[in-house]
């Protein structure tokens, strides 16, 4: 029951966030000095074309009326029509979102698989060489610009060494798997298409490493510091005193407790991965939401910008909700109190 109440409160919170985000984004996108009509119709448009365009996108109406029209559309599941692609924004999002989810999940996987063990290792070997190496790598990961890293890894692993593909989701001459989830790796597994699976995994490696490096660094540092804190606790000494092997002491008693703050970071990380995807997707020709958002912003395509923002506004709280649910599992105190 406690859980249901908690879930209801969070869902109501998400709805409130959505309303707030829609108002703020709508206001910002409509008060910026640049004219979306000039961006959409270009240099050659006649006065008649401009007037028709303004009428089509209700730009000739007062701002509050434009907002109410937009919200009315939203309530009917209509995110509007993109100025740039001339398609319904929902169709565009539906096409591009799975690619971003796949990339972000892969980056998150990198961050978990590398960041947590690195953090634990660093804490156990505090002050010694492994610790220094992990801290140095974390420092670099936390400060290196994504676009620069992306160009470097493409230059090295694709252009110089030829080990991995340099862009796109799948090889040019490999057919994408039939769409089930939109995630090529999952869809090719479902279809039993191992050629597509192989190609899509190999294409994920460089963008996922690029996108995931920053999060890996953050998670490694967070895991290290919380591990250090936990390692000094009385219950750790008690566990050792009981004669448990050091490996079990660290993994069973240390890591589980140390992971609680790391899980909080994971939720935030997933959100930041979505925003980091904007640059990564452009560099790796990855047909996802980030590249769609970039193109939309450049073209002053405000229905598309609004659509992307609202989608992000849903994803962030959902990621945080999942984190809170993970707390229930990790920390029994949250279930009681």
């Amino acid at each position: 029951m406690r859980f249901l109440g908690f879930l209801t409160r969070r869902i109501v919170g998400i709805a409130a966030v959505m309303v707030g985000v829609s108002i703020i984004t709508f206001a910002i996108s409509h008060v910026i000095p640049a004219d979306p009509v000039a961006a959409a119709l270009g240099d050659h448009a006649t006065d008649q074309q401009i007037a028709a365009f303004r009428a089509e996108y209700h730009l000739d109406r007062p701002l509050p009326e434009q907002y109410l029209t937009y919200v009315n559309g939203l309530l009917h599941g209509d995110l509007g029509r993109s100025i740039r692609t001339r398609r319904p924004v929902s169709d565009d999002l539906f096409d591009s979102f799975p690619a971003t989810i796949e990339l972000s999940l892969a980056a998150l996987l990198v961050a978990i698989l590398v960041g947590i063990p690195a953090g634990v290792w660093s804490a156990i070997a505090r002050g010694r060489l492994p610790d220094h190496l992990v801290r140095l790598a974390s420092l670099v990961g936390g400060s290196i610009p994504v676009f620069w890293l992306g160009l470097i890894v493409i230059g090295l692993f694709y252009y110089q060494l030829g080990w991995l593909p340099g862009g796109a989701r799948i090889d040019t001459f490999v057919a994408p798997p039939p769409t089930r989830t939109g995630l090529y790796t999952i869809d090719s597994l479902i279809a039993g298409d191992f050629e597509a699976l192989r190609s899509s995994i190999l294409h994920l490696v460089l963008p996922a490493l690029t996108l995931g490096y920053f999060s890996t660094a953050v998670i490694a540092r967070m895991t290290r510091s919380s591990m250090l804190e936990v390692l000094g606790q009385d219950y750790m000494r008690t566990a050792r005193a009981k004669g448990l092997q050091e490996r079990l002491v660290v993994m069973r008693h240390g890591l589980r407790n140390a992971l609680i703050p790391t899980v909080t970071i994971l939720g935030l990380t997933f959100g930041s991965l979505l925003s980091g995807a904007v640059l990564t997707e452009t560099i790796f020709s990855w047909p996802g939401l980030g590249r769609y958002a970039t193109a939309a912003a450049i073209a002053l395509d405000f229905p598309a910008v609004l659509g992307v923002t609202l989608l992000a506004a849903i994803v962030y709280p959902i990621a945080n909700l999942l984190v809170d649910i993970a707390y229930f599992w990790l920390d029994p105190r949250t279930q009681r109190g």
């Binding site: 698989l113 252009y159 040019t172 039939p178 699976l197 047909p287």
Partner: protein, 538 residues
């Protein structure tokens, strides 16, 4: 309790990677039937380009560069330009055409080639031509103005007098020469009416279907368009002309020029379509690749608002033109990726005027200013952000101009802003000096001369407050001349006049740069924005 999650994740991830690495590369997928590998990499031409402008592949709807390039190879037109020549339309689906003075109208009669088939196998008849032109007018999408406004066509004035004859009735206020030029463009593409009619839904004339399918008679047809990823054309087995040696052409969406360069060098792309001067320089001397360039039809220019003092004085405008170091811009900033063109019609179009009399003559410019009674002039200079056509940054060109004009006592305050923002100011006649580029809507001198001279057209002359009714009238008269030689002579007179009297400093005509694999032959870029892919081999 143990921590099973990370360990399980590691196991799954490692298993996936191992499975991926071990899977035989040639294992056929369940969806291999839609793979571009139908013809194999060896016979599919891969073109890397930024295709983010794609909206539709329907010839009555599309008006974007990527779509024009692709569909030019999918749909045939009644007349066409051959090779890179854009001055004389030649026969294509029409074997001949006759322009008759019918009193208050022109009657243009086209005789169609016999035996032409669409990719579907349906024969191409006059009914298909009538349907195609009428649907373009009735759909009234981006390119429709070429038929309705420029050529003055109405749907009911396009008729088939028999299965192989089409008669188009045009008003005398429109130019038959311009109409023929428009017919070479993608809006003149003839669609398979029998096939398209079966795809019509809700009065859309099949445009939802033709968005990402095709129904043409050209050397290729659309296999698929995966949004934000690729467009694949496959060879049309029913094409009546010389069969393409390529099995397919893949337009891959690769927005970053550096990635295009890498893919070209690695052999993952055959043609890189959006290279800048840096990438071209990096490709020089590399094994297996070559580079080429071609004229574009763009003109990069500075508009001088003739309503703003002292730019209302023709001598001040002439002084600004005279002071500019055009050769320096082209050589140093563009690294040679531009041509010195100073008239308002670009090289490549009929009516191009070779006259380019201005080049950094500081003394002459100063004396012109003195004659105008001006010694120190200060003006705002509006400049877009990002790279200009030809590869140099707009800001670098602006800085060069500022320095050139400073030498004659003209101070400009550079104000850099987005193109969209700049256009808003420019359209409202609120600019003083505005740098921007212009490309014609169709490859005819009228597409440049009219907007650059006619104030009432509310285009470029209007934005620069230049209202010269005499030259505007001459421009419209020139457009209506049906004799090509007399037409060119009339345009020569007009462009000479604008060169010294108009409110423009035409800076250069940019070239477009391409990287090609060395085995790619027969790729000739037309400045209108396409290449005939049927003649390309690899």
């Amino acid at each position: 309790m143990s921590i099973p999650l990370p360990r399980a994740s590691i196991v799954v991830a490692v298993a996936l990677l191992v499975a991926a690495a071990c899977a035989p590369a040639g294992t056929p997928g369940t969806s291999a039937s839609v793979s571009p590998s139908a013809g194999g990499a060896a016979s599919t031409l891969v073109i890397d380009r930024d295709t983010s402008d794609l909206i539709s592949l329907d010839p009555a709807v599309l008006y974007e560069f990527s779509a024009v390039f692709a569909t030019h190879n999918v749909y045939e037109t009644l007349v066409k330009f051959e090779g890179t020549d854009l001055t004389t339309p030649k026969a294509s689906l029409a074997t001949s055409w006759d322009i008759k003075d019918a009193g208050s109208n022109w009657d243009v009669t086209f005789k169609l080639k016999s035996g032409v088939k669409f990719a579907s196998g349906n024969p191409l008849t006059a009914d298909d031509v009538v349907y195609s032109f009428q649907r373009a007018i009735k759909l009234n999408k981006s390119p429709a103005f070429l038929f309705t406004d420029v050529a003055g066509l109405k749907a009911e004035n396009i008729k088939a007098s028999d299965a192989s004859t089409v008669v188009v009735t045009m008003p005398k206020t429109s130019s038959t020469q311009t109409f023929l030029v428009i017919l070479t463009f993608t809006i003149g593409g003839v669609v398979d009416s029998k096939e398209v009619k079966t795809k019509e839904t809700g009065g859309d004339f099949g445009s939802a279907y033709l968005l990402d399918h095709s129904a043409g008679s050209g050397p290729f047809s659309v296999d698929h368009w995966t949004k934000n990823t690729e467009v694949l054309l496959k060879a049309n087995p029913n094409y009546g002309g010389t069969k393409p040696s390529l099995v397919g052409v893949l337009f891959k969406h690769v927005p970053e020029p550096t990635n295009q360069q890498f893919a070209l060098e690695k052999g993952d792309a055959d043609i890189a379509n959006d290279l800048g001067s840096e990438q071209i320089a990096a490709l020089q001397g590399k094994a297996g690749v070559t580079t080429t360039s071609a004229d574009s039809l763009l003109l990069v220019y500075v508009g001088m608002n003739a309503m703003v003092k002292p730019l209302d004085n023709v001598k001040v405008r002439e002084a600004l033109r005279t002071a500019v170091d055009y050769d320096g811009i082209i050589k140093d900033l563009l690294k040679g990726n531009g041509k010195k063109v100073q008239g308002i019609v670009p090289k490549g179009l009929a009516g191009y005027n070779e006259s380019a009399p201005f080049q950094a003559d500081v003394n002459k410019a100063k004396s012109l200013l003195q004659e105008a009674g001006q010694t120190a002039v200060t003006l705002d200079f509006l400049v877009p952000t990002g790279p200009a056509p030809g590869g140099a940054a707009w800001s670098d060109i602006a800085a060069k101009l500022k320095s050139d004009w400073a030498k004659i006592g003209v101070t400009v305050n550079i104000k850099q802003t987005t193109t969209a923002d700049l256009l808003g100011t420019y359209r409202a006649q609120k600019g003083q000096l505005v740098m921007i580029n212009w490309g014609p809507d169709y490859p005819d001198p009228g597409a440049n001369v009219n907007p650059f001279t006619d104030y009432k057209a509310k285009s470029i002359a209007y934005r620069n407050g230049w209202d010269d009714a005499t030259i505007a009238t001459k421009a419209h008269e020139a457009e209506l001349i049906s004799d090509p030689a007399k037409r060119v002579a009339a345009y020569k007179e007009i462009t000479d006049y604008v060169l010294h009297n108009g409110p423009y400093v035409v800076l250069y005509q940019p070239t477009e740069l391409f990287g090609l694999r060395s085995n790619v032959k027969g790729f000739n870029w037309s400045s209108i924005g396409w290449a005939e892919l049927a003649s390309v081999t690899k």
